[in-house]
């Protein structure tokens, strides 16, 4: 059973803790820790996006790497055109995050709508396989198209800009990422509490009943899937700026798996689940990655343990299982 008070407390700890650690690191002059926290925030934002489709809508997408990577490519491509001065599709490039973000969301959201419209013609196992396959298509297209780096990826020499901040400084970029993460979580919470969210969750639980009270499952799910892709794309644009590199590996299938893992480790459908999940994943990577190059073996064993014995993730353990259905 879910304990609301405990979950609020955990959420507050997660939100403020993610702010406090880099603040301490800023004071202690530990820029690497700030960058780690930025990575957590960006991955968590990508997870928040996927959580709309997977957690609220029950759409198990194994293809969100496509939207994450597309966001990254938007950041990389616009920055490249801004520095070369060459127009793209008749428009100038840009190195302003405030321009890049909406474009990244638009591109990722549009592709998500197209993939969703095809994938939602099926359900269950088919949906998983099809989203995975279409994401692989986007990946192969990116590596076989040499104009923007192909297999080598696309470097971003100077991070894109945000008015009033110097994004080359780790703390400034962290603030931007944390702010966007909180905004993303706010959108997620709004959706979860809205009529739209109620319809989405009703469809997850029983599409036939939802349809019988006049909700169109396809339309609601498609809208949620497109929005989910757009938010994950926004996170991708941030990730490209964080690593100053757009890599085809952002589009590759292991990334999709990582995003699902982030959600499961934190707790499916929980507002702050992706934050907990991203923190666990990055923490795991840093801790065990330093000890052994085979840390993914241990990650695999932990995941297997979570699936078999601790369904509900970290927030489920602390604040009780979510009541689904």
């Amino acid at each position: 059973m879910r304990n609301e008070h405990r979950e609020y407390a955990v959420n507050a700890v997660l939100a403020l803790g993610l702010l406090a650690v880099p603040l301490w690191a800023l004071w202690a002059n530990e820029p690497f820790t700030i960058t780690l926290c930025t990575r957590i925030a960006v991955l968590a934002l990508a997870g928040v996006g996927l959580n709309i489709a997977l957690g609220l809508g029950g759409m198990v997408s194994f293809g969100h790497a496509a939207f994450f990577g597309l966001g990254g490519y938007v950041a990389g491509i616009l920055a490249q055109h801004a520095s070369s001065g060459a127009p793209i599709l008749g428009l100038p490039g840009s190195n302003q995050m405030l321009v890049i973000w909406p474009v990244a969301m638009l591109v990722a959201g549009t592709v998500a709508a197209a993939i969703g419209a095809l994938s939602l013609r099926t359900t269950g196992i088919f949906f998983i396989m099809i989203t995975l396959a279409f994401a692989q298509m986007v990946y192969y297209f990116a590596v076989s198209w040499p104009a923007y780096g192909g297999e080598d990826g696309l470097p971003i020499y100077v991070r894109n800009r945000f008015p009033g901040l110097n994004t080359m400084r780790p703390w400034d970029l962290f603030v931007v990422s944390w702010g966007l993460l909180m905004a993303g979580i706010g959108v997620f919470a709004l959706i979860r509490g809205s009529r739209f969210g109620a319809a989405l969750m009703a469809i997850r639980q029983n599409p036939d009943r939802a349809a019988s009270v006049g909700i169109s499952p396809f339309g609601v799910q498609l809208a949620a899937f497109a929005l989910s892709g757009a938010i994950t794309g926004l996170a991708g644009a941030l990730m490209a700026d964080l690593s100053r590199f757009t890599s085809p590996s952002m589009l590759a299938w292991p990334m999709s798996g990582e995003l699902i893992v982030i959600i499961i480790l934190g707790g499916v459908g929980r507002v702050f689940g992706p934050v907990a999940g991203a923190a666990i994943l990055v923490g795991f990577e840093v801790t065990f990655g330093g000890m052994t190059e085979h840390w993914k073996l241990w990650l695999g064993l932990v995941l297997l343990g979570v699936v078999l014995f601790a369904r509900g993730g970290l927030l489920g353990l602390i604040a009780g299982r979510e009541r689904l259905g």
């Binding site: 198990v60 088919f126 692989q136 297209f141 076989s144 798996g257 699936v307």
Partner: protein, 305 residues
């Protein structure tokens, strides 16, 4: 473009398609009978290739390697099914995805630890080296043998499914699990057997393909995703669908990569045509899948019509 080259590419496509069929057949059976999505099927393909390469280099005999690779993959499959996956049949697909994704991580890293991080090389058997004259073109004997081998396994599998008692049970399991358990069939043993059969087929495919490509970590997942495309096109749970889907994917992918750059060359300059053609060719089978989804979302030959 000569007819010989065209014919050769067509044979390559056929060979690719048959190897995809070996992958897809096991996946689609496991979907059909147990309702399980197994992302680790690609890892079993990889295991088959690694065990084949290791056994072949230890014994100096390719055929022993082939048997070892197939047996190792089947045994790994049986072990995974009894230890882990059988707990997941009643769970939702998300749990299955996550557990089998975890298995990919474990098997991939485990392979790196056991066999080292570098690719292994597997030589084609001496019996099948060289080329053979097919009239239009000289074709590598080993690749021709792969076609024959793939067809033979496909025939064997279809006889197994349609003509044997085990096949009857598998088909019955696809139709109604509870009923065949109630009729006294040991359903758990049947599940393990079906899973091991699928794993063995994947391992066999990995071992066979390992001799024409490098045997390396991560070789399984691209093939796994292609096998998903095959199953979406062919229809879930259907061996016939897997065959048709695999041949379509194999031939269209190979011919697309061969023909599209040439087709664009008719009206673009050569360097541009290569780029556009190659990029489009890499997307072709996914576009085919999209088309099938629009026209027949249940696939060409759904098992449960």
């Amino acid at each position: 473009m000569s007819a010989a080259l065209f014919f050769e590419q067509l044979l390559n496509g056929l060979q690719f398609g048959l190897m995809l069929f070996l992958m897809s057949a096991g996946l689609t059976l496991v979907f059909g009978v147990m309702g399980l999505i197994n992302l680790a099927h690609g890892s079993l393909y990889m295991l088959g290739a690694f065990f084949c390469a290791a056994a072949a280099s230890a014994t100096g005999n390719f055929w022993l390697g082939l048997i070892a690779g197939t047996a190792a993959a089947a045994a790994a499959g049986a072990l995974i099914e009894t230890a882990i996956l059988r707990r997941l049949y009643t769970r939702d697909h998300l749990d299955q995805v996550l557990a089998t994704y975890a298995l990919i991580l474990i098997l991939t890293e485990g392979t790196k630890i056991v066999f080292g991080p570098f690719p292994l090389y597997l030589n084609t058997p001496t019996l099948l080296q060289g080329t053979v004259n097919l009239g239009l073109t000289e074709y590598p004997l080993y690749r021709l043998a792969l076609i024959g081998f793939g067809l033979a396994v496909a025939l064997g599998l279809s006889l197994l499914i349609t003509r044997t008692r085990l096949g009857i049970r598998i088909r019955a399991g696809e139709n109604d699990r509870e009923m065949i358990a109630a009729l006294g069939v040991n359903i758990r043993a049947l599940y393990t057997l079906v899973f091991a059969l699928g794993a063995g087929l994947a391992g066999l495919a990995g071992a066979l393909v390992g001799a024409v490509q490098a045997v390396q970590v991560g070789m399984g997942e691209p093939v796994l995703i292609l096998a998903f495309v095959v199953i979406v096109i062919g229809g879930i749970g259907s061996i016939k669908g897997a065959m048709v889907g695999a041949l379509l994917v194999g031939i269209i992918d190979t011919m697309g990569r061969f023909l599209l750059p040439r087709a664009f060359g008719l009206f673009l300059d050569p360097s541009q045509a290569t780029v556009v053609g190659a990029a489009l060719a890499s997307m072709l089978i996914y576009l085919l899948m999209a088309l099938i989804l629009v026209l027949r979302p249940q696939g060409l030959f759904p098992a449960h019509a």
